[in-house]
Amino acid sequence: MRRRAHTQRLLASDSGVTIELVIGAIKAVVIVLLVLGLTTLMLWFERKGSALIQDRIGANRADIFGLGKRLGMPNFGVINTVLADPIKMFTKEDFVPDGADRFLHGLAPFLALFPVIITFAVVPMGDILKIGKYEIDLQPANLNVAALYVLATIGIGVYGIALGGWASNNRWALLGGIRASAQMISYEIAMGLAIIAVVVTYGTLDLQQMCRAQGGVWFGFLPRWGILLQPVSFLLLLISGMAESKRVPFDLPEGESELVAGYFTEYSGGKQAVFMMTDFAEVLLVAVLITVFFFGGWQVPWLYRDGFHFPGGAAWLLPNLAVAILQFVAFWIKVIILSCLQILIRWTLPRLRYDQLMRLGWKGLVPLGLLNLVATAFVVVAAGGK
């Protein structure tokens, strides 16, 4: 009897619930597609960009029916990156070495990629979008402890790499896996300290609230972006984030000259592609976190909910839809710029030695992060606290 009443109540509010669900599903699909698409873009930028830096030509072979050549267009390597190489990778033999732990060997790449992808669920891509009577928060999952969620998923990311190295039954892979997990655990501490300092500054763990707090201006013209409040945290997060994504100058887990390819030595085809995608998704994740914490997230300078209000006093009012689109585009432009910055750093610096890596992490970044946190706490309390 009671159950039937419950069902009827559910049916009464059915259409509202269904639309909420549909909106949630659309947001989830949009963010996953964006992340995967941008991962491919990063891959292309890495190949062509590195070629540019090193005065090479880079990927330029694949062409569909010679169409590009017939039209007289230069080959930018887009077909290589988007079509030819993925097809080649996923149709290659999926090789599992003799004596490997078959189950974990197969599971590891996905155990590495999954935590990175789900972290994007709490990323605010814009403020509120109004469609009809619905107000859509452009954050896929509105979690009020989002900063903790980010730390938790990054913490789980270690397993895929460590187990991939162990399950391959290969000494180099194992050494790579051990190096990777030691490095990731060490730099997670600096990363956590940087994020906690930001949390103390804004007095919230909610990423959407942090973005909102970065709206407005100082002295009439300067955007209230977090980098001006927490420059030390920005450096800490950038460095420890690059160490988390295991790329040069922190790419000791793969160290080609010592370990063949490190933890993915024994991976081929699709599984290796998944490991590679994890790296680029992590680059993107670091860029997203830095954008949200330090570059105002979706904030556009001088853009408010009802349009632009320029320093001089001039105003340009815009409808809600235009504001939402501007915020969305601004957010991803910032993310792409920061991802490209990471790729530039990767092709500029040489690899660290392992003792240098550990010294930088434990004796450099961790004490700096602690000092920054204590200083932040003092300032926040002195300024009245929240």
Partner: protein, 191 residues
């Protein structure tokens, strides 16, 4: 939390716990344990303690279980070395005593717990960071600070021990065992 979700998570936790104690390969055991800990974190969140749930995953799954993996690899513990049915009598006795003590404790706790029908609804702020921090820094302040002092002492002790060991001659550590280590060793002997 809907009842089917609780049932699913509970079943998953039991499977993980069984995996922890029944598998022969220690790395698989650690993974079973990690599954249990993630599952507990999700259960906390479902019951309203969201902050504690995430902290559980960050601390236990993100840090402590990785250290377990490290210890297994660095101590080079071989798989399949478990004693097969031949545990000593004293081990069995101690195990039985510990299990009985745990069962008695669970019985006492559950017999004092409020009946399911009498459980009050929880306050909306329950489990939030602010509530948790308020409780930690007022009611349990002394316990909290004592624990942090204890942890600090443990860290200093660990550093002191590691430093003394580093002064002595370092032995070259053997490579940790991997899934196919045993077969590889035997092949080497044949060759």
């Amino acid at each position: 939390m809907p009842q089917w979700l609780f049932a699913f998570l509970a079943a998953l936790a039991i499977i993980g716990a069984l995996g922890t104690i029944l598998q022969r390969n220690l790395v698989h055991c650690v993974l079973g344990f990690a599954l249990v800990l993630i599952d507990l974190g999700v259960l906390y969140m479902g019951l309203g303690a969201v902050t504690v749930g995430f902290l559980q995953i960050i601390v236990y799954v993100g840090a402590i279980m990785v250290l377990f993996l490290f210890v297994i690899w660095l101590l080079n513990i071989q798989a399949d070395t478990g004693v097969r049915g031949g545990a000593s009598l004293s081990l069995k006795l101690v195990g039985a005593l510990a299990a009985a003590a745990l069962a008695a404790e669970l019985f006492v706790v559950f017999s004092h717990a409020p009946k399911l029908r009498e459980v009050r609804t929880i306050a909306p702020a329950f489990g939030s960071v602010a509530t948790l921090a308020h409780v930690l820094f007022s009611r349990y302040l002394i316990a909290f600070e004592t624990t942090s002092l204890l942890l600090l002492a443990a860290i200093v002790g660990a550093v002191a021990l590691a430093r003394r060991l580093a002064g002595q001659s370092a032995e070259v550590a053997a490579m940790p065992s991997q899934p196919g280590s045993a077969a590889r060793e035997s092949r080497r002997e044949v060759a």
